[in-house]
């Protein structure tokens, strides 16, 4: 039952116990079948685990959608060096709130997923990097980890298997960029969370310069289910290339916002209008961001597509982390794009010049347009800035920042032009933004 609303069209694998406080506890989780998969894994080989996950077609749920089993198979084995499994719980993409629900309702599923993942890549230590703002969620995770240690699921000689496996919960301190895998590694190591140049890739030199694999919370929570029920079972849902189920976080102008778990490939229109209850007050949809603020915007007419990686890509956007932000017809698109751009300017780590300067410059221009001081030439400048940022930097934050700008100018140019035209009447202009007004 996804939280806080339920719907019969959901396919519940991960969200089955959302809203069930008993499922949080170790006892409750065991009663619901927890830690069976771990027991199964410890009795088999690593290759079994990796091939099962590979066969299931599970793809990373953090946004990029890279096949998890393949990622695990990149890890060099038997090197004698320490390996690390990192769990990315730095959920901070605007519109995304699935990992928080997973961790606060089913913390043990994440721990079990981490243990299985760590076992598969021969890591004796898994770090869960949870974003600093999630204090409350972190307290639940902390209690669950303590329970797991006490019950012998973690620590020395896990469940009598002879395998030592530590789990450490690490609290971030407020930086979106730490959700980028190498930024997270730097942050974990006590540095500024600036992404690293790749190569070397994490599987060669990751956390503490040792081979590392990093997986999203949702990905790792899915793994125990696949191990327990098999790859074929998981593949009964979804499309050929996008298998299984996924949590979708819905926010913005919908009747029933929240998390829903549906099979991949679910019709997007049906999802918004049926599962999420449609738009309040009978309004029309103006725009939808389907995968978190970093993906191109869709208009209300582009929604009749499947909710899977391929269909979203074909529609010119991305499934991302499944964060659906719905905007009704009253929405001021320019303001919302400006708000997102402010966010990227605030969260740019500042290493690469195109991103450091470009995000802030774009935010300033958008603010000026918003206040009625824009010109049509500004739109071309915005597109050029986006083009000069995207693909030119160490990480993809600049690409993420460019996506809403370019897609909104392409699809909602009239909204921009209306503001510009309005501003041509000087009386309609607001005060020109001063330096102090620009963050």
């Amino acid at each position: 039952m996804a939280y806080p609303y339920k719907h019969p069209s959901e396919t519940l694998v991960l969200a089955k116990y959302f809203g069930d406080p008993e499922a949080r506890t170790l006892k409750g989780w065991e009663e619901r079948g927890g830690y069976k998969a771990l027991r199964k894994v410890l009795g088999g080989t690593r290759a079994d685990v990796i091939s099962e996950v590979k066969n299931s077609g599970l793809r990373g749920r953090g946004g990029a959608g890279f096949p998890t089993g393949v990622k695990w198979s990149f890890m060099p084995l038997d090197t004698g060096k320490p390996h690390y499994l990192l769990c990315n719980a730095d959920e901070s993409e605007p519109g995304t709130f699935k990992d928080r629900e997973l961790m606060r309702w089913t913390p043990h599923s994440l721990i079990e997923g981490c243990l299985i993942g760590a076992y598969a890549i021969q890591s004796k230590h898994a770090y869960i990097y949870i974003r600093g703002e999630f204090f409350e969620t972190a307290q639940i995770m902390a209690r669950a980890i303590e329970e797991a240690y006490a019950a012998g699921y973690a620590g020395k000689d896990v469940m009598g298997s002879g395998y030592d496996l530590d789990v450490t919960l690490h609290l971030g301190a407020g930086a979106y960029i730490c959700g980028e895998e190498t930024g997270l590694m730097n942050s974990l190591e006590g540095r500024r969370g600036e992404p690293r140049v790749k190569p070397p890739f994490p599987a060669v030199s990751g956390a503490f310069s040792k081979p590392s694999t990093i997986n999203n919370v949702e990905t790792l929570c899915t793994v125990p289910h696949i191990i327990e029920n098999g790859a074929e079972w998981y593949k009964q849902w979804g499309t050929e290339k996008s298998t299984g189920t996924k949590l979708f976080c819905v926010s913005g102008h919908v009747e029933r916002p929240g998390n829903y778990e549906v099979a991949l490939g679910f019709n997007f229109k049906e999802f918004i209008f049926d599962v999420c209850g449609g738009v309040p007050n009978g309004r029309k949809i103006k725009a939808v961001i389907p995968g978190g603020s970093s993906v191109p915007i869709l208009t209300g007419d582009e929604l009749d597509i499947g909710m899977d990686y391929e269909a979203m890509a074909a529609a010119g956007t991305m499934l991302g982390c499944g964060s659906v932000i719905v905007m009704d017809e009253t929405t001021d698109i320019v303001k919302q794009v400006r708000r997102m751009t402010d966010f990227y300017a605030h969260e740019s780590c500042g290493q690469c010049t195109p991103c450091r300067e470009g995000t802030a410059w774009a935010a300033k221009i958008l603010r000026r347009i918003e206040s009625g001081w824009g010109t049509e030439a500004d739109l071309q400048t915005l597109l050029d800035i986006s083009d000069n940022m995207a693909g030119k930097t160490i990480c993809v934050l600049s690409d993420a920042s460019a996506a809403p700008i370019t897609s909104s100018i392409e699809k909602f140019r009239d909204d921009y032009l209306a503001l510009i035209r309005r501003g041509e009447n000087l009386a309609e202009r607001e005060a020109r933004p001063q330096l102090s007004a620009i963050s």
Binding site: Y3, P4, Y5, K6, G19, P82, E91, S92, P94, G95, T96, F97, D99, R100, R104, I130, R131, G132, E133, F135, E136, I140, M141, A142, R143, I145, E146, Y149, D166, T168, L169, H170, L171, A173, G174, A175, Y176, S187, L188, E189, G190, R191, R192, G193, F208, K210, C249, V250, S251, G252, P257, G258, N259, S293, I325, T331, Q336, R339, M340, F343
Partner: protein
């Protein structure tokens, strides 16, 4: 938004579940976590934005020192304990002063300038004293669509302060914050370590009253 959504004052009292605040927040399950951090695996994860501070005590003495010792056992490099150590300093003093950063640098054998560089990278480390309660209102896209700006205004009005300042009674500091990761429950407000979800401007007086 539909009018049927009840006004919560706490996390998540909405939707189709019949749960108490304690069940939603998991406070019964968590109980009280010990100052020494409990098990080493989670010792570095206590809330570091809390109302009750103890600014006079040394940073790494007693249970706090034990906590840092435990944290240090979890990483191959002591530098990795920098964020946890800064959390401790923040928890005790309420913000990171140059003196606190210097103490952390000394304790972990790092250069003070390096510690400053790291501390200023992360937005949750406050570098100046704040009110007893730090009220952070999300105005990012999902909350903004659902009236986040009005909630921010309401907090500023009812606390009588300006963004980033301390109210006259020393209780409140209000800030705008980037996405708090609870976008389905707009507007999301974080007050010290707690999330308040589905906050509407009219809820603000009740929330403030519950804290004083």
């Amino acid at each position: 938004m539909s009018d049927s959504i009840k006004n919560p004052g706490f996390a998540g009292d909405t939707g189709e579940f019949d749960l108490t605040e304690a069940q939603i927040r998991g406070t019964d399950y968590v109980g009280k976590r010990p100052l020494d951090g409990g098990h080493p695996s989670v010792a570095g994860t206590l809330p570091y934005q809390v109302a009750d501070r103890n600014p006079e005590i040394p940073l790494f003495d007693g249970p706090y020192g034990e906590r840092l010792e435990k944290v240090l056992t979890r990483y191959p490099d002591p530098q990795a304990a920098l964020l946890p150590a800064l959390h401790i300093a923040h928890e005790i003093r309420g913000y990171l002063s140059p003196e606190s950063m210097n103490e952390v640098a000394e304790r972990l054998d790092l250069a003070p300038a390096y510690v400053r560089g790291v501390a200023t990278f992360y937005t949750m480390y406050n570098l100046a004293p704040l009110g007893k309660y730090l009220i952070q209102v999300c105005t990012n896209i999902s909350c903004s669509l659902c009236g986040g700006d009005a909630v921010l205004e309401a907090f500023l009005e009812h606390t009588g302060t300006e963004t980033g300042m301390i109210s006259e009674n020393g209780l409140w500091s209000v800030m705008e914050v980037e996405c708090l990761g609870a976008c389905g429950f707009p507007t999301v407000v974080q007050i010290n370590e707690k999330y308040y979800e589905n906050v509407k401007p009219e809820d603000v007086p009740t929330i403030l009253a519950s804290l004083t």
